[in-house]
């Protein structure tokens, strides 16, 4: 799967680097001074690299856990996101990563201990009050766990630090690494969904809707809480019917009491990301839709966005109480 591994010279002797290298004995490994030499240069084509991404092993120096946009929470007051990895195994055509990064190589920061130390510090700033940490904004939290062994390092921390809450956002069905642990009340595995007709066309390489629901079921059967992320909402033919069926499929399988939260976010993208993605995939129908510039974002018209969100909320309310539903409002002038 990985043919080429780049690694920063400074971490060549790190245990995690050695462990990961061992998993790819046939990969060609290339030393570099700084991951930016490979990840950042101009003139790279995200689409071509996505055909065969390489792995870059690096050390993150700062900005480990950062505040999330104000409207993106799921009920907590103190919210941060962190990214031990940049880029994703999957290739969703609506994904902002395509516009954000110059490269689609998997960039893995192997100094997990520094992330955890920052998470600990931020948790300590609010003693006795829950602090949320969101993983999976810039990568899929579970999909590449067989390479990153992310859960092995992070779950034990959240076992001990119950004041810190973790969201693992994913579209993966790779749940076995999680099932090795006893369920934790402060960890939510949040699965993103679009209706299956859209998923087939837009979410390349992503496990089917059906298999993701099965994975959710296994997790909840084991006692874990899950989240639903209906994000991005995509306007489409038979919108009401397709989302209705999606919710029926989910709620007929997953007990409501095991669903921690549902969040809804309409399709939105910073303008410069959108322009880049449109150039990368000029044949993609999604970008011909009734999209418009609002502030510094491209999104559906306010009228369409509100109507579709309302439809979804009403459909969800047939299955789940209002207090579990959160709206990821479009914040045009803030980062997604």
């Amino acid at each position: 799967m990985i043919d080429t591994i780049y690694y920063e010279n400074s971490i060549s002797e790190h245990d995690r680097t050695k462990e990961i290298m061992k998993r790819f004995p046939k990969a060609f490994s290339i030393p570099c001074e700084n991951h930016k030499e490979i990840f950042n240069p101009k003139g790279q084509n995200f689409r071509l690299q996505k055909k065969k991404p390489s792995l870059i092993l690096a050390e993150k120096k700062d900005n480990f856990a950062l505040p999330i946009p104000e409207t993106y929470g799921i009920g907590g007051k103190y919210n941060f996101y962190f990214s031990h990895m940049l880029n994703c195994l999957y290739d969703c055509r609506y994904c902002f990563l395509q516009g954000m990064y110059p490269s689609s190589h998997y960039l893995l920061f192997i100094n997990y201990e520094d992330f955890l130390s920052d998470i600990q510090n931020k948790t300590n700033q609010h003693p006795g009050r829950p602090t949320w940490f969101f993983s999976g904004y810039d990568c899929d939290s579970l999909a590449l766990d067989s390479i990153s062994a992310f859960l092995e390092s992070f779950i034990p921390f959240f076992q001990k630090e119950t004041n810190a809450h973790l969201e693992l956002r994913t579209k993966s069905v790779n749940i076995n690494p999680l099932l090795r642990y006893e369920p934790l009340e402060n960890v939510v595995t949040a699965f993103s969904f679009t209706p299956k007709e859209l998923s087939i066309q837009l979410e390349h390489g992503v496990p089917s809707v059906e298999s993701r629901i099965k994975a959710m079921k296994k997790i909840t059967d084991a006692g874990w809480q899950v989240g639903l992320r209906i994000d991005p909402l995509i306007d489409c033919h038979d919108f009401d019917q397709r989302y209705k069926i999606l919710f029926e499929d989910i709620f007929s399988t997953i007990p409501v009491e095991k669903i921690h939260s549902v969040s809804i976010g309409a399709f939105r993208m910073p303008v410069n990301f959108f322009k880049k993605i449109e150039k990368l995939y000029p044949e993609e129908k999604l970008f011909t839709g009734s999209l418009e510039k609002r502030g510094s974002s491209i999104s559906y018209s306010l009228e369409i966005e509100q109507k579709k969100k309302e439809t979804c909320k009403n459909l969800l309310l047939e299955h789940i109480p209002r207090e579990k539903i959160f709206d990821c409002e479009t914040t045009p002038d803030k980062a997604v």
């Binding site: 290339i30 084509n45 055909k51 306007d235 000029p282 044949e283 009734s290």
Partner: protein
């Protein structure tokens, strides 16, 4: 697809295999081509190859053309005749380093390349040595995506067979066995380039419309976008052409095109 090769003896097996013909007109570099390929013989050294890349670009200034450098190199521990795809290059003089993205599936082994100003008598492990590579990459990166700029080096000397003893009559026999791998990579690069290139029909239709109506820069952009979106949602070229002839001006044409698009652009 552009091949850049330092010496005619290195180029000949590729020219023969692809059946390229020499350009009869005088030019600063020997040039061979057919409908798909251009091959330039640059001469040795960084300056020559940089000029040859610019020369070749000047002949076909398309975006996203693949560039492939092929040539002989020394190596610290590889046997003679082994072929490598370059995964990292360093210029010995200015220490500039680059990492050509490894996105193609090829049976070629990978190597680091050090580009020197003079033939190198030093042989470090896992490193190939040439006199053009870094300049080739730096020059071709100006004209194409980094993924579409690659280099293959075939080993002509090593510590047991130093460059000082190199027999030039062996060039053909070193390169020839690797030609199928070279051509195979070039074909994959061509496929990748096609995938990211805008279909030429869009440009053809736009040129027609541009001759019918006077267009501002913004309108040019809007019409190109409408043609592109029209193709995606299934509005035919002939429908667009008909509208272009029937509408009185560009503004009305754009309005009508957008109206047609709105009827069809809902995701299915």
């Amino acid at each position: 697809m552009n091949f850049v090769v330092a010496l005619h003896a290195e180029a000949k097996p590729i020219i023969d295999h692809l059946g390229l013909t020499k350009h009869p007109l005088p030019s600063p570099f020997a040039l061979f081509s057919d409908e798909t390929y251009q091959l330039v013989v640059s001469g040795m050294g960084k300056q020559n190859i940089a000029h040859a890349v610019s020369f070749l670009h000047g002949r076909r200034t398309c975006k996203n053309l693949p560039w492939l450098n092929v040539g002989l190199a020394g190596h610290g521990n590889a046997p003679l005749g082994e072929a490598f795809q370059i995964a990292k290059f360093t210029d010995q003089q200015n220490e500039q380093t680059g990492y050509p993205p490894q996105v193609f599936t090829t049976p070629l082994l990978k190597a680091f390349l050090k580009t020197c100003n003079q033939p190198s008598m030093e042989y470090h492990l896992n490193t190939a040595y040439d006199m053009e590579g870094s300049a080739f990459f730096e020059s071709a990166y100006r004209y194409s995506n980094t993924e579409l700029v690659q280099s293959i080096k075939i080993i002509s000397d090593n510590p047991q067979n130093p460059v000082s003893h190199f027999d030039k009559s062996l060039v053909h026999s070193l390169i020839s066995p690797q030609v199928p791998k070279i051509v195979s990579l070039s074909k994959e690069m061509i496929r990748a380039a096609k995938e990211i290139s805008a279909p030429s029909e869009i440009e053809t239709l736009f040129t027609e419309i541009n001759q019918i109506h006077t267009l501002t820069e913004t309108q040019k952009h809007q019409i190109k976008k409408a043609i592109r979106h029209g193709k995606i949602v299934g509005i035919s070229d002939s429908q667009i052409r008909k509208l272009a002839h029937s509408e009185r001006n560009a503004k009305e044409l754009i309005f009508k095109l957008n109206q047609k698009l709105e009827e069809k652009n809902l995701y299915s």
